[in-house]
């Protein structure tokens, strides 16, 4: 075998030598030929990799040398076809090598090579297993087992291979080195049989064995092996093997292990078992009672929340959240805490607060010994170290490490979502967390509270604590809190009043929160109309007898109050009676200016403006949707109308669609998208309809200008269609690309007619044909659906086009373009147009931003983005200076926040600088959407199969942008760079 191999390698090797010699001989041949030759040479050198390696390794005199060669070799990728050869060479050297480190490297290379995409490692498996037999070094053994693992994972479909590998692993389980045992267990975990076929009795027997084998290593003397055993068990579970309940007892013992990684893995295992067998009954040790397994496991994991290692604590706290089958009795124990002082029972601060609240007394907090302990405690009854669930969350939430606290809050959230009674109980603790010293914890608990807000009603004292956080200097915290208040239930009118007062305080302290506060009050009002009603006179400061002065309409605080009242009035018809005259006037004004915050009201003496669509209609029979489809049908069906008719119809339809988009916000994306498409079609038709096509072109520059402008516009629009809408599928992408191809054809025609001479046309034609070619490659699967289209016809004519002269090509193109039919654009399920809105800077300021020229000034930019996919990669900020200079800024990924699905928020700083100006001037700030058609969905279809993708496909951020689409309204900022003083 080896001899045969060597021969093969030498053959290849000699071949290479020959060719390169040939190359040097023929260096004086014509360039054309030389190119051919070098291409040939390139192809021939490829398989010689193994040969080169072989030579290198033979040359190596010392192990260090050999190691160096191997390291160098590992840096370069190896093609699929030469992998096997390389592996053989490596194996040959492996047997010869005495140095363990070189063997180790070879073993690791074997694993790396087996990973090569497209290479099937079954041919080298036997050899790899053979190498194990005589290996003495534990490290090399471990590495070889790792290689086998790689091979095994590539051949998962083959059960016999897996069985064999598992057998090998079992054989080495008795090795004295922990590393080898570790790898063996890993191998068994990854490849152990999991199928439980009824017919295959032997298989299921083996499956049982695998669990037993792994289970035996739960008490290995090395903690690393113990961990690996548990991990292997978990791996088996992940692969679908049902673990036996019998290991539960073993796992419980591992919870008391000395090593944290073992405990951490054991917690996971217990959790898995509790999910598998929630209802089985386990006995409680040292008593005759029995409880459900899930409850027992819950108790045990709770106990781990007060473990010595914070890693285990985090793990345990996290897992608690997903144990939803646990009985409520156990669940509520987690929040239990008994305080005592000098053996006397003491009430917790929570209990005291609750009592004060129910007795209707205000917290004095002034007395010393207010919290004096009350009743005596029976010393026997106190359990200092609670076993089980008692107080697990109390511990978790008061943990020293914030990671544990966050995990506990998350778990609390998940459990509270499934159990309303628990939600009610954990409220006190969550509210407490609002004052945590770490911001992330605060934020997390606010989010949690929002998620469970359906189940809870805040007490006044709790609300008080919650509202106190409104003064936080962190914008994220405040906004999260506003969101929370949007969906909170408040129980009393005092609560509403308190919330309003605090929000107004917040508004004066941080005026930038305006929008968010208004929105918050909108929901607060609409949720609690009856609680707002008694507050109205006070809030509007009306008086039964006297007229009060009219408040300032532009005061954000006043607007805030009005938003609250108007939203409450929507479902409370008696409220408008309390309004004074100016309130009605203000209503009319706000309804117009802030229509998203002020609902339509049924006011006395005024007609309610009926909304365009009554909400009762279900989406199925939505007439607007029908209308959209009908109008599109109409366009697509009328293929053979006279040109004039088509144009008119398109124009009407486009107008209809645009109007529809304005009226129906949920259909806006769809309508805009189709309208844009039709617009492109219209432009194309218009350009082709020009009667002057047959006249010698140079005379009709104006006409050409129109056509080329149309082509340019179509190109732009197609980019917008492809990149500005989220939800575009490949079906649409084809059509869009097709349209772009047509535009390019048009461009080519126009250029051909305007330029003299053939020379420049050569290149253009070549390029165009290349594009057609790539289109064909990308969308080969879609082509059958494009019967009679431009590209369909073009591909038929392709052989002719390739051979003909540019002028002929142009002619052919022109006729195909005219004859081609117009493609039906299928609509995707959901389509949204990306949009952006710059909130800050507002562009209203008349005070120029002054700074010394040459230095920088930071401009805060705050914008909301909707339906932008991957904003971190695509959204850019553009600054346009009055001198036409444009600056493109890439915001940091951390500047984007994701407040909800499809929504993003960009809060960043833009640095401006310029030379001195004589007077202040305005710059424009806008947001751009960068795109790159290479990265688009079409391009990813061509699968890349390189050896090492991560090395080759390095991201190229700068080259990644092909063009940009502006997608927000520009905002003007007044700036004034002053000359520097000397």
């Amino acid at each position: 075998m080896a001899a045969h191999l060597k021969k093969r390698v030498y053959e290849e090797f000699t071949k290479v030598v020959q060719v390169s010699a040939e190359g040097s001989e023929l260096c004086r041949v014509t360039p054309q030929q030389h190119e051919d030759l070098s291409a040939k040479k390139l192809r021939l050198t490829k398989p010689s990799k193994s040969a080169a390696l072989h030579v290198d390794l033979c040359k190596a005199t010392s192990p260090a040398d050999a190691l160096q060669y191997l390291l160098q070799f590992a840096r370069k990728p190896v093609e699929v076809e030469s992998v096997e050869g390389v592996v053989r060479i490596l194996l040959e050297h492996y047997y010869k090598e005495n140095d363990a480190s070189v063997r180790l490297k070879i073993a690791s290379l074997l694993g790396l090579l087996s990973k090569t995409a497209g290479f099937s490692p079954d041919c080298i498996m036997d050899d790899a297993i053979n190498t194990l037999q005589n290996e003495k070094s534990h490290q090399v053994l471990a590495q070889l087992l790792d290689t086998l693992l790689v091979i095994g994972t590539k051949l998962t479909e083959n059960p016999s291979v897996r069985m064999r590998l598992v057998e090998v692993a079992c054989k080495h389980l008795t090795d004295s080195s922990h590393g080898v045992r570790n790898k063996c267990l890993q191998l068994i975990g990854c490849l152990g049989p999991v199928e439980k076929g009824v017919a295959k009795e032997a298989e299921s027997q083996a499956a049982k064995d695998v669990q037993k084998i792994i289970g035996d290593h739960f008490n290995d003397q090395d903690p690393r092996v113990r961990t690996a055993a548990i991990k292997a068990m978990l791996q088996l579970h992940e692969r679908g093997l049902k673990l036996q309940q019998a290991i539960y007892g073993q796992a419980c013992k591992l919870l008391a292990d000395d090593y944290e990684q073992v405990r951490s893995a054991a917690v996971q295992l217990i959790w898995v078992l509790s999910q598998l067998y929630p209802e089985s009954i386990v006995p409680i040790p040292s008593s005759n009672e029995e409880i459900r397994l899930v409850d027992d496991a819950f108790g045990k994991i709770c106990h781990m929340v007060s473990d010595g290692s914070w890693v285990v604590r985090v793990q345990a706290a996290k897992l608690l959240g997903s144990m939803q089958q646990v009985s409520s009795h156990f669940l509520e124990q987690t929040l239990d805490k008994k305080l005592m002082s000098d053996l006397r029972r003491k009430r917790t601060a929570h209990e005291r607060a609750k009592e004060l609240y129910s007795s209707g007394e205000f917290s004095s907090g002034r007395k010393w010994g207010d919290d004096a302990p009350k009743e005596e405690i029976d010393t026997g009854a106190v359990n200092l170290i609670e076993s089980g669930a008692c107080g697990a969350f109390v511990h978790g939430l008061e943990d020293e490490m914030y990671e544990v606290r966050i995990a506990a809050v998350e778990a609390l959230c998940m459990l509270a979502q499934s159990s309303p009674s628990f939600a009610e109980k954990c409220l006190d603790f969550l509210v407490d967390m609002f004052n945590d010293e770490i911001e992330e914890v605060r934020l997390q608990s606010i989010h949690t509270m929002r998620k469970i807000s359906n189940n809870i009603t805040l007490r006044e004292d709790q609300l008080d604590t919650v509202l106190a956080v409104l003064e936080d200097s962190s914008r994220d915290i405040r906004e999260a809190l506003h969101e929370l208040l949007c969906c909170t239930n408040v129980s009393t009118k005092e609560g509403i009043h308190l919330a309003l007062v605090e929000l107004l305080k917040n508004l004066t302290k941080y005026p930038t929160d305006r929008e968010s506060i208004w929105k918050c009050l909108k929901f607060l009002g609409s949720r609690h109309p009856t609680l707002v009603l008694p507050l109205v006179p006070e809030l509007l400061s009306t008086h039964p007898f006297f007229d009060t002065p009219e408040p300032d309409m532009d005061d954000p605080a006043y607007i805030a109050v009005l938003v609250l009242i108007f939203n409450a009035a929507k479902s409370c018809p008696t409220m408008p009676a309390l309004f004074s005259d100016h309130t009605f006037r203000h209503y009319a004004y706000l309804r117009d200016s802030l229509s998203h915050l002020v609902p339509p009201l049924r006011l006395p003496g005024r007609k309610l403006v009926s909304s365009p669509v009554s909400p009762s209609i279900t989406p199925h029979e939505d007439p607007s949707q029908q209308f959209l489809h009908q109008s599109l049908e109409r366009v697509y069906n009328l293929q053979h109308l006279d040109p004039q008719g088509i144009q008119e119809l398109l124009e009407f339809t486009i107008r209809d669609l645009q109007r529809l988009g304005e009226l129906q916000s949920e259909l806006a994306g769809m309508a805009d998208f189709t309208a844009t498409y039709l617009q492109c079609q219209l432009l194309l038709i218009k350009a082709l309809q020009e009667k002057l096509w047959n006249v010698a072109a140079p005379l009709y520059l104006k006409q050409n200008a129109l056509a080329s402008a149309a082509a340019k516009q179509i190109l732009e629009e197609t980019y917008k269609m492809e990149f500005m809408y989220s939800g575009v599928e490949s079906r649409q992408v084809v059509i869009i690309h097709h349209m772009r191809l047509q535009a390019k054809a048009l461009q080519l025609i126009v250029t051909a007619r305007t330029t003299r001479g053939v020379e420049p046309l050569f290149g253009m034609c070549e390029k165009f044909l290349q594009e057609v070619d790539s289109f064909q490659r990308c969308f080969i699967s879609e082509l059958p659906q494009m019967q009679g289209s431009f590209v369909d016809k073009l591909l038929d004519l392709m052989p002719r086009l390739v051979t003909s002269k540019p002028s002929e090509v142009v002619k052919i193109l022109q006729t195909t373009l005219r004859q081609s039919t117009f493609l039906h654009l299928p609509l995707p399920e959901r389509l949204h147009r990306a949009s952006a809105n710059i909130i800050e800077p507002t562009g209203e300021s008349d005070n120029p931003l002054r700074f010394t020229s040459g230095l920088v000034v930071a401009l805060d930019v705050d914008a909301t983005l909707e339906h932008v996919q991957d904003p971190q990669g695509t959204v850019k900020v553009q600054v346009l200076y009055p001198d036409g200079q444009a600056q493109l800024i890439h915001p940091k990924p951390a500047d984007f926040r994701n407040p909800g699905p499809g929504r993003h928020r960009l809060i960043t700083q833009v640095y401006l600088s310029h030379t001195a100006w004589t007077e202040p001037c305005q710059i424009e700030v806008r947001l751009l959407l960068a795109y790159n058609s290479n990265k688009s969905k079409a391009a990813t279809k061509i699968a890349k199969s390189t050896w090492n993708e991560s090395l080759e496909a390095l991201p190229q951020p700068e080259n990644g942008i092909e063009g940009t689409i502006p997608f927000s309204k520009p905002v003007k900022v007044y700036i004034m760079p002053k000359p520097a003083r000397r």
Binding site: Q221, S306, L339, D342, A349, T379, V382, E400, D432
Partner: protein, 598 residues
């Protein structure tokens, strides 16, 4: 039986004057060296004459360990080392070493300068004493001498507080005053070192505290409300520990809530201490350590040094002033200035001794008689907030759970409370718990494991015999134990003989078994041979030509009985090494041969 002896000289069923003598495996260690705040006579220091009546203490003590800088743990140190006389090493952590002299100096000033005592240690003595101190890092194992080693663990929020593990050979003692972090449990951490004895404080043995978060929130809310009203807040504090904690609390809150009102810190001692807090930032809690990347939390942004003139400034402000019980000094001055305005507030963050102004106003007195028969009407609000750094019962239990000691000893607490905790510990961990009074010696018997070196050859040979090594199961092996030069070695018998220069003696056991068998000798032998062959399948049973049988190395010969030819005497002989098999064979043969048909 090896034993550990513990004798508290102070802090045994008592609070204050911590001083515990531990003798472990022949080493004597003194844990803490504190003073008692309740006494002004000799009783304020531990009675060092217990250690030795005459002569230097250095000869009797191997080292002294100080857990943290509170005076009841280090107050007697200069007296002990300079006046009684001790030149050995004193171990403490770096922050403790830095802050300790400040407090000692302060203590000295009050006693000597204010109370006019003589025969007290001097500033120079403090300096000399500090020269004997060896500073240790956390988790650093310090070899005091060849056998005694100590190791410090982080113990919580009092800057520099540490738990100490004292270890001689396999015996170890852990000493902890488990101070806990400001707001959270579980701050103190120790690995599962399974000491023979854990000595722990038990001040709050009968208390389970509420979360500090509520108390902190109340405190901050009160301060915030007062400041918003335009009032002034006075917070009387003691110089160290709590003051810094509150400063951080307020500083972060100011930062968080974007507040502008000034916060002042009265100068003097505290500033020096703040400086040390700044230096030892790594000893503080997670939040402070995390923020350190951006800035040092103790480089206060909002807190400035106080000047006497500031007290009359209009507008809101918060002032931290010493001393904490409002009995004298700056805090009292400010209090007198502000007491008349109901917008202002005073917050007492700790316990006040009876008779002080602090105690009076806390118990609700509204009219105070000041010196010079002035009547001061207190209109300002008076609040009480308790912040305590000691571990509660749960904290202590958790520590025990973590360390898994074999015995627990309680100190630094009241007897009655200890009794409760002791009962709980015994009940829940099933370990012995002790609570000796001052001067009472507790002896704990230990069962140390003794390490024995085994030669690799022997180990390999022995493990090769029989089944595979089963983890965590005892295994029987044969070898020779050599005890020489205070070390133990297990070697193979041959090597032992060689080393000791002894000749090998063969030891054989022989045994006669009588068998009733009328047949000829060689027939009997054949029968025996067949029988043994049938029973002992795994062993090599051979019938030798000379008429004897060998089973492995055991020899069996048969002769006819001299008197009774019907009885055959089987001679079984085996070497001492084959004792097991030999005795088995004899018992087998004694049962007689099976009646064969042949």
């Amino acid at each position: 039986m090896p034993e550990i002896k513990v004798t508290p000289l102070g802090a045994g069923q008592d609070v204050g004057r911590s001083c515990i003598l531990v003798s472990i495996a022949g080493k004597n260690v003194m844990l803490d060296c504190g003073m008692h705040m309740g006494y002004n006579d000799d009783r304020r220091f531990p009675d060092f004459s217990y250690i030795t009546q005459n002569g230097r203490l250095t000869d009797f003590l191997d080292c002294v360990i100080i857990s943290h800088f509170h005076l009841d743990h280090c107050g007697a140190l200069p007296y002990f080392s300079e006046m009684v006389g001790y030149d050995g090493p004193i171990y403490m952590t770096h922050p403790t070493k830095a802050i300790c002299p400040i407090l000692l100096e302060d203590y000295r000033k009050i006693t000597v300068d204010k109370k006019g005592e003589t025969n007290f240690f001097t500033s120079q003595m403090i300096k000399d004493c500090m020269k004997k101190v060896v500073a240790v890092h956390l988790h650093q194992t310090v070899q005091v001498d060849e056998e005694l080693e100590i190791k410090a663990y982080y113990a919580g929020h009092v800057l520099g507080a540490a738990m100490f593990q004292i270890k001689v050979g396999c015996e170890s003692v852990v000493y902890t005053v488990s101070m806990h972090s400001s707001s959270y449990r579980c701050a103190a951490w120790i690995d599962k070192c399974r000491p023979d004895l854990l000595i722990t404080e038990s001040t709050y043995a009968t208390t389970i505290r509420d979360s500090k978060r509520c108390r902190e929130r109340d405190f901050l809310k009160k301060v915030h409300e007062t400041v918003e009203r335009g009032g002034k807040v006075l917070i009387p504090v003691f110089a160290l520990g709590r003051a810094q904690e509150l400063c951080i609390l307020l500083e972060t809150f100011w930062e968080r809530m974007n507040l502008k009102a000034p916060i002042y810190f009265s100068t003097g001692l505290t500033e020096k201490a703040n400086h040390y807090y700044k230096l030892f930032i790594t000893w503080t809690n997670q939040k402070i350590r995390k923020t350190f990347v951006q800035r040092n939390m103790f480089e206060f942004k909002h807190i400035k040094a106080f000047d006497r003139a500031f007290a009359d400034n209009p507008g809101p402000m918060v002032v931290f002033a010493t001393p904490g019980m409002l009995h004298a000094g700056q805090s009292l001055q400010i209090f007198r200035k502000w007491a008349g305005n109901e917008k202002n507030m005073v917050i007492m963050p700790g316990y006040c001794v009876q008779g002080t102004v602090g105690h009076k106003i806390l118990s609700g007195q509204r009219k105070l008689e000041m010196e010079g028969r002035q009547i001061l009407e207190v209109k300002m609000q008076v609040e009480y907030m308790s912040f305590s750094a000691h571990a509660d019962a749960k904290g202590i239990m958790q520590l025990i759970r973590q360390a898994e000691p074999r015995n627990v000893l309680l100190v630094h607490g009241e007897a009655k409370k200890m009794e409760f905790l002791k009962q709980k510990i015994e009940q829940e961990f099933h370990v012995n718990c002790y609570m000796p009074a001052n001067g009472e010696t507790t002896t704990i018997f230990t069962n140390p494991s003794i390490p024995v070196d085994i030669s690799l050859g022997l180990l390999k040979r022995e493990t090769a015999i029989g089944l595979l090594p089963d983890a965590k199961k005892p295994k029987l092996m044969h070898g020779t134990l050599i005890m020489k030069d205070n070390s133990f070695r297990l070697v193979s018998p041959e090597q032992a003989l060689k080393e000791l220069g002894l000749a090998e003696h063969q030891l054989r056991f022989t045994c006669r078994v009588h068998i009733q068998d009328p047949r000829k000798e060689h027939e009997t032998v054949l029968r025996v041979y067949n029988h043994l062959k049938g029973v002992l399948k795994d062993y090599s049973v051979q019938h030798l030509p000379d008429g004897s049988i060998t089973v492995e190395s055991i020899l069996i010969q048969a002769t006819a009985h001299s008197e009774d030819q019907g009885t055959k005497v089987l001679l079984v002989s085996w070497t001492y090494q084959d004792e097991e098999l030999g005795s088995y064979l004899t018992s087998l043969l004694k049962k007689g041969l099976p009646q064969s048909t042949s």
